[in-house]
Amino acid sequence: MFAKRTLPTIIAFVCGITVVIAYFFNIPAIQSLAQGILRWQAVIAVFALGLGAVNIIRVHVNNIRRSQGTNIYSLALLITFVITIFVGVFLGQNSNAYKFIFDYINVPTGSAIFSLLAFYIGTAAYRAFRAKNVEAAILLITGCIVMLGRVPIGAKILPVSVPLTNWIMSVLNVGGQRGVMIAGAIGFIAVSLRIIVGLERRSYGGE
């Protein structure tokens, strides 16, 4: 109980309070302690990356075992995972092999996945933007104006789309975003305080 609950709560409390005090007050001893805590956090984050890597291997090894070798996606992931780690660790991140993987596999596949949005969002917009009622009509008109106002051809076809887009983005959008951000920030403060004082049990692995 002490190791699972009380000790993590004490650590979170001390670390949280120290960093908060260091942000607001310039006390050298607290500043130094807070800087040490932040550096520790960076080290722990690196270990978390390693933990994530081990977890990925476990999950996909289990997938392959369960499917008796027919799960080619997990197999492909593990093979590329091992190759990339080998190249990165033993040949270095500035090696030609690493750059080849990055430039000719990592970047093109990442961009390809992202570029599919143009197709999916396009068809989704075509099917969803229907003026079935007033709200849908407002959404449709706003969406079309912003789509046109954001590209050069829009300014040529419908010049008014540019100032209208700027107005939508800087007035309507910012008003809504501010509300969301302020509400989110207040919620974030509340949750942070609950974690620091140990009331947020889920943060410590509890229910």
Binding site: Q31, F129, L148, R150, M169, R178, M181
Partner: protein, 294 residues
């Protein structure tokens, strides 16, 4: 099925084909649509111009491969402007892919005779997001002992001029969102609020909406959103690149979507099904006179 009903339900493969053509053709044969420079981009350019010559800026390459096409052109355009003012650059990245993008973009500086370690540095990747950025802001060498090339960071001449975030004349984040890396909100907190260092952002198009708030509040001195901003910046620095060529394709893609949306709505308004399906509008108030029960 009449033509108007068909307009409402065109085969998505037709759309995919047309979209592929709309993007590919302008890239192969650019149309050269004129690009007007908008106020947010001009403001950002003017702000960078106002920085003291020879000062040092920090740039966060906080994006992954999927967003490279939006953000690398912005980074390169800004770097050209910084180099013309002899401003030195320290780069770091909160995503593992970031240092490689930084390396590719920082190559721009070599055109201007910049020397690694003296005029620019690629510090590499840091894990841990905002707390690590906070630690970097307080003491950069406490987080980066070795740079991306494996050099001892403390021994590099440029880093000897930097003891905290306050030594930078500007911070910039090229950012594709907070998932997995350091987001724009974190940069506002750690650069602007904690150290009062002016911040500019290069973000993907979709992030423009949420970050516009910081521009209006004055916490962000300028925002460059998506490929469009890169294209405009290329106009300002008078150096055309991928941003400019990409805008024709983006124009055509947006245009195609708008055309399809309009066609779908025309089809919906004009279609009349024998089954008596109401036209547009709520069931109690059919928008097509006599549409109900026909």
């Amino acid at each position: 099925m009449d033509i108007f009903e068909k307009l409402q339900d065109l085969d998505r493969r037709v759309f995919y084909l047309l979209m592929a053509l709309a993007i590919a053709i302008p890239i192969i044969r650019p149309i050269g649509l004129p690009i007007d420079v908008t106020d947010p981009v001009k403001r950002t350019y003017d702000f960078v111009e106002s920085l003291p010559n020879g000062s040092i800026v920090v740039m966060g390459f906080d994006y992954e491969p999927g967003d490279e096409i939006d953000l690398s052109p912005i980074a390169q355009a800004i770097l050209h402007q910084l180099a013309r003012k002899n401003i030195r650059v320290v780069a770091l990245a909160s995503f593992p892919a970031g240092p490689t993008f930084a390396e590719e973009c920082l190559a721009v500086l070599e055109e201007y005779g910049y020397e690694y370690g003296k005029d620019y540095i690629n510090l590499g990747h840091y894990a841990g997001g905002e707390p690590t950025l906070a630690a970097f802001a307080n003491n950069p060498t406490s987080i980066f002992v070795r740079d991306w090339l494996g050099n001892d960071v403390a021994s590099l001449p440029l880093m000897q001029e930097i003891s905290s975030m306050k030594d930078f004349s500007m911070a910039m984040t090229l950012n594709d969102g907070p998932t997995g890396g350091t987001g724009t909100h974190e940069w506002v907190r750690q650069a602007v609020m904690a150290h009062n260092v002016p911040l500019i952002m290069g973000v993907t198009g979709v992030l423009a909406a949420s970050n516009e708030t910081y521009v209006q509040s004055g916490q962000c001195k300028g925002i460059l959103a998506g490929l469009r901003a890169a294209a405009e910046y290329e106009q300002l620095i008078d150096r055309k690149g991928i941003g400019t060529t990409g805008m024709d394709a983006q124009s055509m893609a947006h245009m195609l979507i708008v055309i399809f949306v309009v066609l779908g709505n025309i089809g919906m308004f004009l279609s009349k099904k024998p089954s008596g399906r109401p036209g547009p509008g709520s069931p109690s108030r059919p928008a097509v006179p006599g549409g109900e029960g026909k």
